[in-house]
Structure formats: C-alpha cells, structure tokens
C-alpha cells in the first residue's frame, strides 16, 4: 500500500505524518490524531457528523482523503474554544437546547460556524438550509436553530 507524507495544520498545530494514501480524513483525525470529537455516523456523506472546517469551509471528512488536506488548515470541534472559553456557539447550544445526545453536535457546530461566516445575521430559513447536510435525531432541530440565531445575535454584539 503506498504511503505518503502530509503536512497539515490542525487546530493551529502543525502536523507531519506518514499515512497510507487511501486514509480517510475522518480516520486520520480520529485514529491518528486522537481527536475523537469528529464523529462518524454514516460514512457516506449524508449525516454530517464528521464535518470539519478546511480553510474555513465545511467538508465531510468521511468523503475526503487525508492527502487532500495537505498544506491546508483544519479545524475540528476541539479547536474552537479559545483560552478555555467556549465559543459563543457552544455556549448558545448549552443554553438553548442545541444538543441532547451530542453525537451530531460537533458537526452541527462546524456547519453553524460556516453559516455565520457566510452571513452574520442569517434568517431562520437560511440557518435551516445551512444545516441541511447535517442530521440530528434528537432535537427536531428547534433547539439547534434557536441556538444559532441567539449566538449570531451575541456575536454581532447586538
């Protein structure tokens, strides 16, 4: 099996690793870097539990090869707190019932960050559309949408 060496920055930390060429990004993150916050729910790109940010854009890490991340910056759920403080979205998810079992949550947070990067004051419909690649079986999405709307308001400082 061919092996390749990649250099990536994950959550601000540079990593150099020799990996099999067919290694999935999800497996690289979970099994090589031990960042198990990124989940696997379907392995087919449908559920969004494995979502991470690649240079700020959401990608499904179960559909990407680790080599595709070469030279890029990856952010996982472990990388969004700063100085021990929860990201406003994380705090909002706690306060507004944005999670229950929490399994979809890392992926939802990534999708939410991307939504707010795109549009800092999204409408509810925009938030729902932005979440359409992420499944949640627990919440009926009500708490998640509320959490994102409330966080958006906080982050805008209004």
């Amino acid at each position: 099996m061919s092996r390749v060496t990649i250099e990536v920055v994950v959550n601000g930390q540079p990593h150099r690793a020799e990996i099999p060429a067919r290694r999935l990004l999800a497996d690289f993150i979970r099994d090589d870097l031990f960042l198990t916050g990124t989940k696997r729910g379907c392995e087919t790109g449908v559920c969004g539990a494995c979502s991470v940010l690649l240079d700020g854009e959401v990608v499904k890490s179960c559909l990407s090869l680790a080599v595709q991340a070469e030279g890029h910056e990856i952010t996982t759920v472990e990388g969004i707190t700063s100085g021990g403080e929860l990201h406003p979205l994380q705090a909002s998810f706690a306060e507004h019932g944005g999670f229950q079992c929490g399994y979809c949550t890392p992926g939802m947070l990534m999708a939410a960050i991307a939504i707010l990067n795109e549009s800092p004051s999204p409408t509810e419909a925009e938030v729902r559309a932005g979440l359409s690649g992420n499944l949640c079986r627990c919440t009926g999405y009500v708490g998640i949408v509320e959490s994102i709307m409330a966080a958006a308001e906080k982050m805008r400082g209004t």
């Binding site: 979970r30 960042l35 198990t36 916050g37 990124t38 989940k39 696997r40 729910g41 379907c42 392995e43 087919t44 449908v46 559920c47 539990a49 996982t76 759920v77 472990e78 707190t81 929860l86 994380q90 998810f93 706690a94 306060e95 507004h96 019932g97 999670f99 229950q100 079992c101 929490g102 399994y103 979809c104 949550t105 890392p106 947070l109 509810e124 938030v127 729902r128 559309a129 979440l131 359409s132 992420n134 499944l135 949640c136 079986r137 627990c138 919440t139 009926g140 999405y141 009500v142 708490g143 998640i144 949408v145």
Partner: protein, 781 residues
C-alpha cells in the same frame, strides 16, 4: 427516611421547573465525551461480522482458511465456536452467531478480529460460506397461512397470541348508535440514532469480562452477557459509554455488544466493534409493522362504549421484545376512553424472514395511536362533531380507573387538546372556506397516552440512587439508569440539588458501571424521571437529614432553628455565628469515633401491578401516565401529491416539567421522528431483503424539511411523581402520524390508512375521487 421538614430550605436555589442546561454540556460541546467507538485500550483488536445475504437458508459449509491466513487476522470464528446455549430476551432463539440456519438478511454468521478495521474487512472478503436457500416467509399473512414453511420449528410461525375480553362487547355494540370499522397499516421504523452501535470489551487480569458499550440498560446487558457466555453475573462488568442516542434500539436486543463481549472473552484480548451504518440498519431492531383492525361503537351522546381491536404484527425472524410491543399496541390506547367498559382484543405476532423487530421509541404506542386517531376522526365526521370535541368528550380524567385497570393519579389529556387547538388556531382554521386551488390546506389532530414506568420485569420496577457527599461538600450520584441524551443526569442532579439547596453544578452524576452503581433496569418505558427522580429526592433528603442532625448536635441548636442554604447550615438570626459548611460537616461525619463517609442509598419502587403476569393483562402498571396531543396544518399539492407541514403544535402532559428545556427538546425530537415515520421513513424490503439500509435512501427529517415545531407543556401534577413529574420522552412520538393523516384528509378528502403517507397514495386517492365524481355525474346526466 429522616424527616426534618421544620428546617428551612433556600427555595430560590432550586432549579426545578427552570430551563437548565445539561450537566454534561461541557464534554459534549467540546468533543471530549467518549462515545462507544471513541474508546480504545492498548492491544485492542477490531471486529467485523459477515452477515447472511439470504433471508432463509441452511448453512452448508464455511471456509475460513484464507481469511485466517491473512496477516493481521487474529480470529475468524463461526457459529460453531459460540457457546451452544441459545440467547434472546424472553424466548431463547439464537446463538451468538448463526449455526446451521440463517433466518434474515443481515444475520451474523462469521466474526473476524484483526489488528485494524481494514484488515478485518479484507478478511471477511476471503470467507466462503455455502448456503442452501430455503423458501421464504415473506410476510405475516403468509406466515400464519396453513402449510407455510416455519421460521422456527413447531411454532406455526406464531410468536404470541393475546386475547382479552372485558364486559359484554356484543351487547355494547348492539346498543351503539354508530359503529365504524376499518383497517390501518403501519410500517417498520428504524430508530435512527446518530451513533451507530459500538462496544469495546476486554478481560481483566482476574479473568473478569468488562464491556464498555453504548447502552440504555447496563444491568440488563450484564445479565444477558453472563447468561449467553455461561458466566456468573459477578464475573461481568458493564460500563456505559456516552450514548449517542438510543430510542429503544440500545437495550438487550442488538447483537453488536454481545458478539464483541464474546469475542473479547474468547480471545482474552480487548476488542472493539463499531457498527457501520449498514451493519446498524441490518442488525438493529426496528419497530414491528402492524395491521390494526378497529371497530368502535359510539352512543347517541358521542361516547365510545364498545371497542374491538385485532392486530397482526410482524416480528421478523426473532421475537425479542416484540411480544411486549404488541401487548402495548393492543391494550394501552383503550385507556384514553373514559366510558369504555366493553372491549375485546385479539393480537397475534408472526415470525417472518424479515429482520427481527423490537423496541423503538413509543414501544407499540405509535402504531396504535395512528389507527385510533384516524378512526376517531372518521367517527367524528360520521357523527357530525368536531374531532377535538369528540376526544374531549371521551377523555379520561384524574381519579379515573380505566377499562384495563390504569389508576390515573393525574391526566392532562383535555388540557393538551385545549392547548394544541389554541396553539394552531383550530377554530379559526376550521371555519375558513376550504381551499379549491392546486394547493390545499387542511388541519388534523391526534391525542395519546403513554406510561411513565411499567412494571413488567420480575415484579420490581424500582430505581435506586446512591449519593455520596465528598469532603468538599459536593455530591456524587450513582444510578443504574442511563442518559442517552434525554437529560436524565441533569434531572437527577436537579432533584438532589434542590433537596440540598445547592447549585446543580455541585452534583456529579456518574455513568452506570455495574461494579459500583446500584442495580437498575435502565432507561426504558419513560421510567427514569418518575422512578429515579423520586429516588434522587429521597437520597437528597436523607443526606440533608444527616447533615442537620450533625449540625444540630455540633452547634447545640435544635434542627427547627437551623437553615440550609448555599451549602451551609446555620442557626437562624439569634445565633449569627453558628454555621457549618457542608464540607465541614462531611469531614466531621468521617473524622469522629465510629465515623463514616456520608453516603446514602435511596430506593423508590412504585405501588404498581405486574399486569403482564395475568392472562387478562388487567392492572395498574405504572405510577403515572403521560398524555400528549398534536395539531398539524398541512398543505397538499394536488398535482404532485406532496405534503408540506405548514405548522404543528405538540403538547406533552409530563406533569411537573422539572427541566422545561429538556422537555421541549424531547417533545420536538419525538414530533420530528413521528413526522418522518408518517411521511417517508420506512424499512423497504423486496423478498425480505432490505432495500434502503443507508441514510441516502432511508430518509430522516432534516432541518430544512421540518417546520419550526412548536411545543407546549401541560403540568398535571402527578401525586406519585417527583415534584409532580412524569415521563416526557416518548408520548410526543405517538400522535404525529394520525394528526398528519387527518390533516391530509381535511385538505383533499383522501383518507390514508396505510403509512407512510406518500405522494403516490395521495394522487391515487385523488384519481379515485375524480372517477367517483365522474361516475356520479354520468348517473345524473
């Protein structure tokens, strides 16, 4: 129990009834929570299973030589390697891996343990199994026809049959002013938890088996592993991982944990088994498909006085918990009708070559609620009365003993009806002129009953909570019940914190570890709030009592002159300096002659009855009964048959809402799950082969496909409940499907009696309408 009610409690500290973030928010939101498949131990092997491609076949031979020879493979095991005793919930029907015969597509035949998942998968490709296909039992009708091949010998494909009759049903029907009968069909729903089932198991140096699994029922799992492996219960330890959703699917029916436990025990090495999503679709227990025939008789006041129910259900290849599910479908919904005395029930559960069915959120309730509420809407129309009014007129009330012996300490069905009517604007919407365009709106509604707890196992439905006060004055709780996301630990922490007037953050709830947690049946039957909540209150009070006694003795102040507040106990005004912190008291409790750690164990076993032990199923099975109602407004596109849900309002009578944030979350999640089941979720089969075992083909609701679900809480205070609370996680799953069917009927006049409510069925109904209208016109022309 020490009662020291005179001592004053700081009521402001209590979070009971206040929206409270989950106690495990931090770990879940930062990605630190360790779910079943996140855990690893040194030397861990990875397990994969080969599943049967046949729905019914004899296993002729299995050749594992090539797979075993693959580098990195540690074991390739077959059914012959498994213990020869059978396993199963009630009826023991299969070995850990199939031997001699397979009975469904997906049945586990070979298990491989290898150094990594890729190697294990590669090894599976090298296994050769020769099967001799057998004729299939395609469906439940075929199953029970004479002369059909049997899935299990000498069963006639009948798993169980229930017959219950009360009163004089025939004369009640004879008295009825209106009788209506119809048949309804429901399909099998996959639980759809986002975390596929996952387990890590290993053997300790002393030979004991440890299983860390994503489970709702750690202790029941321990019993099951011990039984299946022929081990003493004391030689098995089950630790509950963080659970990524369960919905009934992670109890004692799934086989991931059992196979993993056995492999680890057999190899003496750590083994991890994480289901792929396809594994999970094939191996999980989905809900039984049911055909429900209903006949109801109503008197001239619109009161339901006679009912007959016949249910035929498909439990697939192995019965698991499906027998109980059928019992619930059969018996429970009758208990919503206040004036019903005469009822006849007949239920049969058939073995087929479908995958085994079992417990899924609502546990038979959703199937019955779909039939009942559709039927009541049809009856109301015939009676010429509003369906909400019809249900209200027949709604049970607090203090009633129902037809099957449920004693209702509280009942908020009527209030749920009022709240959803108000919430959706029922009266206004009903009064508006029917739409005549291509898109037509309609409203529908449904109501439901569910249990909070259910005495069904060994005549004990108790819950035990152990509380320890650490020397810093904080509390650690242990329980045998599980948090799978519903917020059980937050609720327990709130109850205990409230009794001690300390912040919720001062209470830690430990995940179940059967070596140290108190025994418990786990999180099933919406039992945790009402049972464990009571136990947590008792534990909190017991600790408070001990603290007060010690403080009184130490300070020389009578207990009645002491106040408990802010983690301290102090003497009221006159003696300002006499105070002790909980930490000081906890240390004093140890550091004295004969001292000990401040640790209490409290149990609550409700005053209920094991009705399942009686052939007539009569008795008060639960300490409380929850009710729910849902109203829906849909828009049906008459060209495409598409149903859009414009608005929906769900009310849950969960008694006191200890944590409204969690209750709303449960209600909305359950409603979403029922909307999925109503409109498109369905395990689809061709010749018993699953056609849609992935999330692209088995569609679950997305944020975009759902409306903003509105939820309301009815707090009918339950005398048996902790602060008046009842269960809140399943009831809201029940009314959705019928509410939508009724709304579709209201919109376009098409009555769908078979789930799911697809565009094709609606279009077929519309075409039929047109044909009838055309025929009528021709007759009149």
């Amino acid at each position: 129990m020490t009662m020291t009610t005179q001592a004053r409690l700081d009521g402001d500290a209590s979070t009971i009834g206040r929206p409270t973030p989950q106690v495990n928010a931090q770990e879940k939101l930062t990605g630190r929570a360790l779910y079943g498949g996140d855990f690893r131990t040194p030397g861990m092997l990875h397990l994969k299973v080969l599943r049967s491609p046949y729905a019914h076949a004899r296993i002729i031979s299995i050749d594992t030589a090539a797979a075993s020879a693959l580098p990195g493979v540690h074991a390739v095991l077959t059914g012959d390697d498994t213990p020869d005793r059978l396993t199963g919930v009630h009826r023991k029907q299969h070995r850990i891996l199939a031997t001699s015969k397979v009975r469904f597509v997906g049945e586990e035949v070979v298990a491989v343990a290898a150094i990594d998942e890729d190697t294990a998968r590669d090894a599976l490709d090298l296994v050769r199994v020769e099967y001799e296909p057998l004729p299939l039992v395609h469906n439940m009708d075929e199953a029970l026809s004479p002369g059909t091949i049997e899935v299990h010998e000498s069963t006639g494909n009948l798993s169980i049959e229930y017959k219950v009759e009360r009163g004089d049903v025939d004369s009640a029907f004879a008295r009825a002013a209106l009788v209506h009968e119809a048949t309804y069909e429901t399909t099998s729903q996959y639980p759809g938890y986002l975390e596929p089932m996952a387990t890590v198991a290993w053997v300790e140096g002393d030979g004991r088996l440890v299983v860390r699994a994503s489970t709702q029922t750690a202790f029941l799992q321990r019993n099951r592993f011990a039984e299946a492996l022929g081990l003493p219960v004391s030689a098995v330890r089950v630790i509950q991982s963080t659970v990524g959703g369960a919905f009934g699917g992670k109890t004692v029916e799934e086989c991931n944990s059992l196979i993993c436990a056995w492999m680890a025990y057999r190899l003496g090495r750590p083994v991890r088994f994480v289901n792929s999503r396809l594994d999970d679709f094939l191996g999980a227990r989905s809900s039984p498909a049911e055909r429900i025939w209903l006949k109801m008789g109503v008197d001239n006041q619109g009161l339901i006085i006679a009912k007959e129910v016949k249910i035929l259900a498909d439990c697939g290849a192995y019965e698991g918990l499906a027998t109980h599910v059928l019992q619930v479908s059969l018996v429970r919904s009758d208990n919503m009708h206040r004036y019903l005395k005469d009822v006849r029930l007949h239920g049969r559960l058939a073995f087929t070559n479908h995958p085994p069915r079992g417990a899924v959120r609502g546990f038979g309730g959703p199937q019955a609620a779909f039939a009942l509420n559709s039927h009541m809407a049809e009856l109301a129309e015939k009676l010429g009365i509003d369906p909400v009014e019809f249900m209200r007129r027949n709604a049970v009330r607090a203090g009633d003993t129902t037809v099957h012996g449920f004693e209702l300490g509280s009942a908020g069905l009527t209030e749920c009806l009022d709240q959803v009517s108000e919430g959706i604007g029922w009266i206004t919407k009903k009064a508006r002129r029917p739409d005549t365009g291509l898109k037509r709106r309609g409203i529908g509604f449904a109501g439901a009953i569910h249990v909070s707890g259910n005495r069904e196992m060994g005549n004990w439905d108790g819950s035990i909570v152990t509380a320890r006060m650490t020397t810093d004055g904080r509390v650690t709780l242990s329980t045998g019940e599980s948090d799978m996301g519903q917020g059980a630990y937050t609720m327990l922490a709130q109850c205990c914190a409230s009794e001690l007037a300390i912040p919720v953050s001062h209470v830690t709830v430990l995940p179940t570890d059967t070596d140290v947690s108190p025994y418990g049946h786990g999180s099933i039957a919406s039992r945790v709030t009402i049972l464990a909540g009571n136990a947590a209150i008792r534990a909190g009070r017991e600790i408070r009592g001990r603290l007060l006694a010690l403080a009184s003795e130490t300070l020389g102040v009578p207990e009645g002159d002491l106040t408990v507040s802010g983690g301290e106990i102090f003497a009221t005004s006159a003696l300002p300096n006499r105070r002790l912190t909980f930490g000081e008291l906890a240390r004093m409790h140890i550091y004295r002659h004969g001292g000990e750690e401040l640790r209490v164990t409290a149990t609550y076993d409700p005053p209920t009855f094991l009705a399942m032990s009686r052939p007539d199923q009569y008795g008060n099975v639960a300490p409380g009964y929850s009710f729910a109602a849902q109203a829906v407004e849909v828009e049906v596109d008459t060209e495409t048959g598409q149903v859009e849900i414009l608005e929906t309002f769900v009310s849950d009578d969960c008694g006191k809402a200890i944590n409204p944030l969690a209750v709303h979350g449960q209600t909305c999640g359950a409603a979403a799950m029922s909307i999925g089941w109503a409109l498109y979720e369905e395990m689809k089969f061709q010749d018993c082969q699953l056609l849609n075992g992935n999330f692209a083909d088995y569609t679950m609701p997305t944020a975009e496909s759902l409306p903003n679900i509105q939820s309301g809480i009815i707090e009918s205070l339950e005398p048996n409940g902790p602060y008046g609370a009842k269960g809140a996680s399943e009831t809201a799953m029940l009314p959705g499907a019928a509410a939508i069917a009724n709304a579709v009927y209201d919109a376009v006049g098409v009555r769908i009696r078979e789930l799911p409510i697809t565009p094709e069925k609606i279009l077929a109904g519309l075409r039929e309408q047109e044909a009838t209208a055309a025929a009528r016109e021709r007759r009149h022309a």
